[in-house]
């Protein structure tokens, strides 16, 4: 009788225990039970020669769109896309319709995720009721339902006093406030980064200032209240500088950056392609370099996708009317390998740390997620770092195909994903 799984001869990378060596990983009863064991004939054997074996990727910032925008994504398709990209856990942001601001909403997501049976789904609850920025949501009930943080992502909270109270109130539950920092008066219906490219193209600009003033405000609120702040999708060099300074001063702050803000720049908008329109917008080369530097020196703690599916009929509109956002779950690993690892700017252990180890730490995931330590849940990704593949609509499992990388050849891809010891994706 087959008992357990033995992943053989892979390059096992687990930053949580400084592990980077070729060895065998034994999985029994959904947990990791040992390294270096030889096959006994009872295990299912998986040959991982030439592959990387790492803790499954964890995304702190996924838009699953259900309930309310099922034409763009559902919990089923979104979690399928996650598996396809090598993720074993994702955290869904609450800007759905209705927004996730009650215990019942959280349980609905959890039920749908259980029915989909793809990957682990953690829920982020709204900071404010109905995401209106007026009154605090019932954060205690939401915490009891299992949310891992609070955010009104999609927009910022204009009322600083409300945000201050949120920072103070959530300290009872030891959960982070996750801020989308953007001043909507300063963005002033902009479409792309304010700069020479926007000036030339005649597209309305979104100044980096719109993000930076709110990043500074969030940091000051966290410092003053001693609350726990997680900054979402940082995209500017000034923002990186502000966070670096805040960390030096002991502020309880973590920050994420997206694959696109690490690799793409504003000049691509010359194509007027709405698949290059997102909030915050693509910035300058200097901003991209600052984000990479921030990621490497630990100022930016993790990579999050901000996977933001939008159906073709919504996205293929006039660029100023098209919604903000691009999908990212299925391309993040390959994009960062192609653009950062293969270009010598970072290593595989660093990337795994930013995409699995640190995300788990930021939100205090239970059950030993984001690690391969003995006893941890067997959430594992096998990556073929040399696999060349082309991004095509037909291969994407997300319901929406709004990716700026469509048609491009990338290198590196998840080839197998185990969630709690079960193989949920195999290429």
């Amino acid at each position: 009788m087959i008992q357990g799984i033995l992943i053989k001869n892979g390059r096992v990378i687990d930053p949580s225990q400084n592990m980077d060596c070729v060895t065998n990983v034994l999985i029994e009863n959904g947990r990791i039970t040992g390294f270096g064991m030889q096959p006994t004939g009872r295990e299912r054997e998986i040959d991982a020669t030439g592959k990387i074996v790492a803790p499954g990727l964890i995304d702190l910032h996924t838009h699953l769109r259900e309930p309310g925008f099922e034409e763009s994504e559902t919990i089923f398709t979104g979690t399928d896309a996650a598996l396809n990209g090598g993720y074993t856990s994702i955290c869904c942001v609450p800007n759905t319709n209705p927004p996730i601001d009650t215990q019942a909403d959280v349980e609905f997501i959890q039920d749908q995720a259980a029915r989909a049976d793809h990957c682990n789904v953690y829920v982020i609850g709204c900071i404010s009721k109905n995401r209106e920025g007026k009154e605090l949501s019932e954060m205690g009930y939401l915490a009891r339902a299992g949310v891992i943080g609070f955010s009104d992502d999609g927009s910022d909270i204009e009322n600083a006093e409300l945000l201050r109270r949120a920072f103070e109130y959530v300290q009872m539950f030891n959960l982070p406030i996750m801020c989308h920092t953007e001043d909507s008066n300063l963005t002033n219906r902009g479409v792309m980064n304010e700069g020479i490219v926007a000036t030339r193209l005649g597209l309305r600009g979104i100044p980096s200032l719109a993000e930076d003033v709110m990043t500074a405000r969030a940091i000051m609120l966290a410092e003053y209240t001693h609350g726990k702040l997680h900054l979402m999708h940082i995209s500017t060099s000034k923002g990186v500088q502000l966070i670096r300074e805040a960390k030096k001063n002991g502020v309880n702050v973590t920050a994420e950056v997206t694959p696109h803000h690490l690799t793409l720049t504003e000049d691509l908008l010359e194509s007027f392609d709405s698949n290059l329109k997102m909030a915050p917008p693509l910035r300058t080369r200097a901003d991209v370099d600052a984000c990479i530097e921030g990621l490497l020196d630990g100022t930016l703690d993790c990579v999050s996708t901000d996977h933001a599916p939008h159906s073709a009929e919504k996205k293929q509109r006039e660029i100023d009317l098209a919604p903000f956002g691009i999908v990212g779950l299925e391309t993040s690993l390959a994009v960062l390998n192609t653009e950062l690892i293969l270009k010598g700017r970072m290593t595989w252990p660093q990337l795994i740390e930013k995409m699995a180890t640190n995300p788990a730490k930021i939100i205090n995931l239970p059950d030993g997620k984001g690690t391969l330590q003995v006893g941890a849940d067997a959430d594992i990704v096998l990556i073929d770092p040399d696999l060349k593949w082309t991004v095509t609509e037909s291969e994407m499992r997300s319901r929406s195909k709004n990716s700026p990388w469509l048609g491009q050849e990338l290198t590196g891809r998840a080839v197998m994903v185990l969630v709690n010891g079960r193989i949920r994706m195999k290429r």
């Binding site: 002033n188 219906r189 700069g195 020479i196 000036t199 030339r200 193209l201 005649g202 597209l203 309305r204 007027f272 009929e313 293929q316 509109r317 006039e318 660029i319 100023d320 009317l321």
Partner: protein
């Protein structure tokens, strides 16, 4: 080649564009072809020869998603005077008001049979998007704050007629630079012809960033007044502004309005043009608009000539690329 307008000569071999999306992409040579051919049409017009059979069987559709009277009329007349037929598609402000995407709309029109589509839209890049999705010629009649190539061409043609070569001449473009497609098309065209351009307007509407596009910027009309050979007085685009970039129209006129007093302080042969429709009393006082140094009505006649040249040239290139 054409019995009724032999001055046009052979179709210029250097012209290969079936679309006209903007002036930024054009080479200097292409720009000169456009201007020279437009001049041929203008000369014929001045001799009272107005109707030709150069594009028989050509159907042009004007597809305007933004209000316009003169540009649309100018394009329709240009098509008709070439012997083509012209249909106006009554598009509402957004293509989606009837649930149809703009690409679908264009494909539908093309399926009815047309050789060119003249497009105006409030969003930058729409003509480019359509050019990637249809087979007919796309002519940009203004896309948001991006480009308005035929307006740029007619402004430059007007300047050329009055000043001769534009090499080394200084042109001031005054007004709401941030929201102006006319400013951008002027900049690209004028720079290719060796002119110096100064963009001038309130500091909230003229960013120092324009220097990176190879032009000078100024926030004082009075300071540039004595340096310019031409002033192109742009209209304030009230419809494109969501927050007011200056406190009042009165104050705008005080700082940037062209009046008799400023005219007297400028170079004596200063040429004043304006893309229209002008807000009388705001950008220009009637004394300036209707005075001898104004070429506003000349611009309108040149607009027709420019559009005839554009329709003819893009039609020729389309036949070559599509093997028609």
């Amino acid at each position: 080649m054409f019995n009724d307008l032999p001055e046009l000569g052979e179709f210029p071999a250097a012209w290969k564009r079936k679309h006209l999306l903007g002036l930024e992409d054009l080479t200097r040579e292409e720009l000169l072809i456009l201007l020279d051919k437009a001049q041929v049409f203008r000369d014929a017009f001045d001799q009272g020869r107005r109707k030709f059979s150069i594009l028989p069987g050509h159907t042009s559709v004007t597809l305007f998603f933004e209000n316009s009277t003169r540009t649309r009329t100018s394009f329709s007349l240009a098509a008709q005077r070439l012997g083509a037929s012209c249909v106006a598609f009554a598009a509402s402000t957004s293509s989606l008001s009837k649930g149809e995407s703009i690409v679908d709309t264009a494909k539908n029109l093309e399926a009815m049979g047309c050789e060119s589509m003249v497009v105006r839209h409030s969003t930058p890049g729409i003509p480019k998007l359509l050019s990637e999705n249809v087979h007919c010629s796309i002519i940009n009649a203004g896309d948001g704050a991006h480009e308005h190539p035929t307006q740029g061409l007619l402004d430059i043609l007007t300047m050329r007629q009055r000043l001769g070569s534009l090499e080394g001449k200084t042109v001031g473009v005054v007004g709401d630079i941030a929201h102006s497609r006319v400013a951008r098309s002027n900049v690209w065209g004028l720079k290719k012809l060796g002119a110096n351009v100064i963009v001038c307007g309130p500091s909230t509407l003229v960013s120092p960033r324009w220097e990176e596009m190879g032009v000078e910027y100024s926030h004082s009309l009075d300071k540039i007044l004595t340096r310019v050979d031409v002033l192109n007085m742009l209209r304030i685009q009230f419809e494109r502004q969501y927050t007011s970039p200056f406190p009042s129209i009165r104050e705008y006129s005080l700082l940037f309005g062209m009046d008799g007093d400023r005219l007297r302080r400028a170079k004596p042969d200063l040429l004043v043009i304006a893309p229209g429709p002008i807000n009388r009393g705001v950008e220009l006082t009637p004394e300036v608009a209707d005075g001898p140094q104004s070429a506003i009505l000349d611009q309108v006649s040149n607009g027709l000539a420019v559009r005839m040249a554009v329709l003819w040239l893009t039609d020729g290139a389309r036949k070559l690329t599509n093997n028609e």
